[in-house]
């Protein structure tokens, strides 16, 4: 008789531990089920979330991707959660969790150590959807996460979405997903920026250094063509490449243009034949 009773009691206790109310971070905040504190650190892990369960029951709090945590002065970039985390808290329990988060305002400084982030809100719906898609695709490129976030928070051009640590197909797929959501066309080029002077990868230098892309056009006859960078007023700034005796037909010419000594601004890239006639033009925004 005693043994079955013990089993029942243990079953109830385990059940109580295992069952937990599932709440999003937003719901948990609204119902005052939690208190939180976010602190920035230096090093590889930057955002430390301290979270406390105010309730007398177990809860599971889902911290959503696309959630912003901001500090009061606005001088520093807010953290943007890239990957969602489910935090299980027993009644009254407090936990510290490292979050995979990036920065959400390229024109501000990156968070310094021990800065407190009290404010929180969800980011733009499109950003959340894109981050969810990237997580679904199991993308690990930190560089791409950061650039995608800046694309939405600071209107960085689509051309800025590139990553050295990601295969081209996955990158293309991600950009196509963003374009489909934004109803825009993928950029024909990718623009690379200099590293920030601080060396902090969460800081944006704003200095474009390299353009890479492929020019596709039809060459009506075999002749020499040059690829030129042209200002809005039609003035040629630089000859990027020369193709001697370019064969007649469709051509795909990859270009790799250093923006050294080229002022920021709107340009065109043109393919020009020997008579000075432009065979095709592409817009380029070096900024």
């Amino acid at each position: 008789m005693k043994i079955p009773m013990l089993i029942i009691v243990m079953h109830l206790l385990i059940g109580q531990v295992l069952t937990a109310e599932n709440l999003t971070f937003e719901e948990a905040l609204k119902s005052k089920a939690i208190r939180f504190d976010v602190k920035s650190e230096t090093g590889l892990r930057r955002m430390l979330l301290k979270i406390k369960n105010n309730k007398k029951t177990n809860i599971q709090v889902d911290v959503e991707s696309g959630r912003f945590f901001s500090e009061a002065t606005g001088l520093y970039q807010p953290f943007v959660v890239a990957k969602p985390v489910a935090i299980r808290l027993a009644a009254g329990e407090e936990k510290e969790v490292w979050m995979e988060a990036f920065c959400g305002n390229s024109s501000a400084s990156s968070p310094k150590k021990d800065l407190k982030f009290k404010g929180t809100k969800m980011g733009p719906q499109l950003l959340c959807e894109v981050l969810q898609e990237m997580n679904k695709e199991k993308i690990v490129s930190k560089s791409l996460y950061q650039k995608v976030i800046w694309h939405f928070t600071n209107n960085h051009q689509l051309a800025s979405l590139y990553a050295h640590d990601l295969d081209s197909n996955t990158l293309k797929k991600t950009i196509q997903f963003i374009c489909a959501k934004e109803k825009s066309n993928p950029s024909w080029y990718a623009i690379e920026y200099a590293d920030a002077v601080s060396g902090d990868e969460l800081e944006f230098s704003g200095i474009p250094i390299q353009i890479k892309g492929t020019l596709s056009f039809y060459n009506p006859e075999r002749e020499t063509v040059s690829i030129e960078l042209v200002r809005e007023n039609g003035e040629t700034v630089r000859v990027i490449q020369v193709h001697l005796k370019q064969p007649q037909g469709f051509a795909n010419l990859p270009i790799d243009l250093s923006l050294n000594k080229i002022p920021k601004g709107k340009y065109q890239v043109r393919v020009v034949n020997t008579e000075g006639k432009s065979l095709k033009e592409w817009p380029l925004y070096a900024s």
Binding site: V237, L244, N252
Partner: protein, 235 residues
């Protein structure tokens, strides 16, 4: 032939960037003019076929920081076997081989060669001519004090100067044959002054002879019937 050469000399090549603010000006050079002006021999005197030539002038600086990438894409795999990149050395007056162009397949799968130009000068892609037995020989007509022969030929673009050796004989030329429309310029001394005459190689063929004889001997028709050069045409 002379008229077309004259027209090309007047109009020259195609200037791509005339904006004086640009650090450099790039001009595609006319092949016949380039071949005729600079000849098409390497620094060892071996004849080459000229594929493409350009001149780069740099404004206000010695050389470019980044260089100008120049590409040569071939239409067919066997169009040229080994395009080689040369720079004209004005002091040595010959073409000097530069670094071997980086060869790879273009996005269309066609062979492509890539070089970077950093400093001003005249550059050209040449195709080495396969080594053959020395077939063509010039023999100066008697009483004609020939200083040099110059052959300028289109498609393939080849230009050679043949000067006499120490013994006064002219060296044989490592070409299989000359085209009928190859321009031959003979420079000779007359009363101490240099003079030159131009003629097409075809004009030197004596068609009154049998085919076999044409192969063996070519006659200088405008003057005396003295052997000017011999060529094994059909090889």
């Amino acid at each position: 032939m002379k008229i077309s050469l004259f027209v090309m000399l007047i109009f020259g090549g195609n200037v791509f960037c005339q904006d004086p603010q640009l650090p450099f000006t790039f001009t595609e050079l006319d092949l016949l003019e380039t071949a005729s002006t600079y000849t098409t021999c390497d620094d060892n005197g071996k004849p080459m076929e000229l594929i493409s030539a350009l001149r780069i002038d740099i404004n206000g600086r010695t050389c470019l920081d980044n260089g100008l990438p120049v590409f040569l894409q071939l239409e067919k795999v066997k169009e040229f076997k080994k395009p080689t990149w040369y720079r004209w050395e004005p002091s040595a007056k010959n073409w000097k081989k530069q670094e071997v162009p980086q060869g790879y397949n273009s996005m269309e799968g066609k062979p492509e060669f890539n070089v970077i130009i950093k400093c001003p000068g005249i550059y050209a892609f040449f195709e080495p001519i396969p080594v053959v037995q020395y077939k063509i020989e010039f023999k100066s007509p008697k009483k004609m004090n020939v200083v040099k022969y110059k052959i300028t030929q289109e498609a393939p673009f080849i230009c050679l100067e043949i000067k006499p050796k120490k013994d006064g004989e002219f060296p044989k030329i490592p070409l299989r044959t000359l085209k009928f429309d190859a321009l031959i310029t003979i420079t000779y001394l007359e009363k101490g002054k240099e003079k030159s005459i131009d003629m097409l190689a075809g004009a030197l063929y004596d068609f009154t002879q049998s085919a076999e004889d044409i192969i063996k001997t070519l006659q200088y028709k405008p003057g005396k019937t003295q052997t000017l050069f011999t060529s094994n045409i059909n090889q």
